[in-house]
């Protein structure tokens, strides 16, 4: 690495319009402390200096005539090395978000950096395994709509989850966005729903709009008095049923039979939801004589016969 020198520049000397390296998510709040521990990196270019790192800090209310200390890297430093350098700096703070890696790779591709160099110079810096397919996958995250991007960053979602949002187009995008706004689902729930929707779409060879229509998606947003938590349960059930129709029929039949047993609140009869184990688990919390009597009643012929039937049906 050629030497990096501190230089004093006026803000005007830095070309803010050259956003080639503006790949990292900007910190929303830049406080004094942060300013002290971070630096702006620039590189001489035709129009003065271009920022290579530290777009965050330049966002603060500097006037064009303000004099600031920045660090300048040599003009001769090639693009691949510059990218590797800024990754290294950023990785000292935190792991990169998939969209940031996507932007870095987009820059590399724009400047015709060969895939081999990307895989063997940049991927190790980001600490991801060098696989060709990942280049396109990360790049595709850059097209994800801002509403999802913020959500995915906030939830620290892995690449696999980001990819579920990569192809969303209007108006389906809006429908999914409404869903997130209305239910504020956990990342796991959102992943589950998005994955099932994607799989249903491919399996049934339909577009997402058709799948959402089949599911009567909008219905769950108009459920007036029903608390959204219940609506979310209903929506998840509907999506699961669409994804696993036969399994759902079987599960519903078993659930219905268990309900018919009319077990008390302190008892629960459960089963392996994958149905690989053909067995029931009975949990019974005993506190009072009444609980014991109720447990005794479970042993009557009628109830045992019903449980036998459930076991057979499992």
């Amino acid at each position: 690495m050629q030497s990096i020198k501190p230089v004093v520049l006026t803000v005007r000397q830095i070309n803010k319009n050259d956003t080639t390296f503006d790949v990292f998510v900007h910190n929303q709040v830049v406080d004094d402390t942060l300013f002290l521990i971070n630096q702006i990196l620039v590189q001489p270019s035709e129009n003065g200096y271009r920022i290579v790192y530290g777009f965050d800090f330049l966002q603060t209310d500097y006037q064009d005539n303000d004099r600031i200390v920045v660090y300048s890297i040599p003009e001769s430093l090639d693009l691949l090395s510059v990218l590797a350098l800024i990754i290294k700096i950023q990785m000292n703070k935190r792991a990169l978000y998939p969209v940031e890696i996507g932007k870095l790779l987009s820059v590399a591709k724009t400047y015709n950096i060969p895939d081999d160099d990307i895989l063997h110079r940049l991927f190790p810096e980001v600490k991801i395994t060098a696989q060709n397919k990942l280049i396109e996958q990360y790049k595709s995250t850059t097209s994800i709509h801002a509403a999802f991007r913020e959500y995915l960053i906030r939830k620290n979602a892995p690449l696999k989850t980001w990819l579920l949002f990569a192809d969303l187009k209007d108006p389906e995008r809006k429908q999914i966005e409404n869903f997130i706004a209305k239910f504020r689902p956990t990342l796991s729930v959102l992943e589950e729903i998005m994955l099932y929707l994607a799989e249903i779409k491919t399996r049934d060879r339909k577009n997402l709009a058709a799948v959402l229509k089949d599911l009567n998606w909008e219905k769950y947003f108009q459920a007036g008095d029903i608390p959204s938590k219940d609506s979310l349960v209903q929506l998840r059930t509907a999506v699961f049923q669409k994804r696993y129709p036969q399994l759902s029929i079987h599960k519903n039949a078993i659930d219905s039979d268990i309900k018919e047993l009319d077990l008390p609140n302190n008892a629960m009869l459960s089963y392996d939801e994958s149905f690989e184990k053909k067995e029931l688990t009975l949990q019974w919390r005993l506190r009072t004589t009444q609980d014991l009597k109720r447990l005794q009643k479970l042993g009557d012929d009628m109830t045992i016969q019903k449980i036998r039937q459930i076991m057979d049906k499992l």
Binding site: K133, E199, I200, T202, R203, R205, Y244, P245, Q246, L247, I249, H250, S274, F275, E276, K277, K278
Partner: protein, 394 residues
Amino acid sequence: MNLKNCFLRIFITESALKDAVTGAIIEKYPGRIQKVVPDDYDISEDVRGMDPKRVLYLTHSKGDVVKGCPGTAESYLCCNYQVINQTQNCPMNCVYCILQFYLNQPATILFTNFDDIFIDLKEKLSRQPKRFFRIGTGELGDSLAISGSVFFADQAIRTFADVPNALLELKTKTSETDGLLNIPHKGHTVLAWSINPQEIIHRYEFKTSQLIPRLTAAARAGDAGYLLAFHLDPILAVPGWEDIYNDLLDELYLHIPSERIAWISMGSLRYPPSMKDKMIERYPSTTLPFGEMIRGMDGKMRYARPVRVPMYKFIYQKLMGISNPPFIYFCMESRDVWEEVTGTSPESNAHLDYLFAESLYKRFAGLMAEKPVRDTYKRGFSLEQIPNLDKPEL
């Protein structure tokens, strides 16, 4: 199906170069780039970026080639099958095939030290003389899809002809098996076909023989005195499965008399979870990974029991609906599934192994020297395991 030009490059290790069969194999691929390499040479860099299915690597085996089938976790029953891994990889392209993801090697590997393999085989078989083994070459590749495998099959058939306590099973999706018909097999080789409805072959089994050619090849093998076997594996839960599997089974019994069939296996689609993404990546338009799969007790993805049991029941009842039905078993299924479908279940892997022997003894007179004794199978050693020789075999 044309697999004659399947290899673009051939590597021959110095040790393999001395084997007579090596010359015979490379003659089958004229004009292909050949390179002789030291035995410890790593070809990875030479073939970087190439499909391992298009690269042939002829070499000598190291370690156990003859051994027990790895099967799956104990929560599912396996049959104590034994394997000879002489060929590793396959030129065919079945969408669901685990080999394309499981074999982490840069080439299709063929071991050419046949003599060593047969000496090892006989020695291992002699350790448990009272047990009757089923041994197959189709575990890590098709038994007959490439010429190196066919050369091995030829010699294996002749070898097994004189082995009293084992049956060789050659498992294939090809139909070019007529070259084997005149080999003196003495009834100790089972020619087996993996079969699926024609619609499934068309959609998911690329570069394989179509259904009817497979069945007519099987019929000719039966006429030549070979025992036959069929593997309905993987059974796929596709829309309209009843109709297509019904047609398949009609065709099977139309072509093949049941008394020639040593066994038929059933197994539904299953794969390690990591294979799902790889399947989607390799075959983007396939819908196979989007079936109603759950993670089974062995960690593999498989159709949920409420999905696969109805298929098994349908197929089993159809297979059993004839006089003298063949021995039918499940590959990697739970006892619950056995009981639901057949009304009974083997007690253990060893018991299933014994049931095979019992069926063969009853159905094929003269195949086994004496009636199998269940206790002999209880010990259930794989061939690579060395039984306690201090204790006499039961």
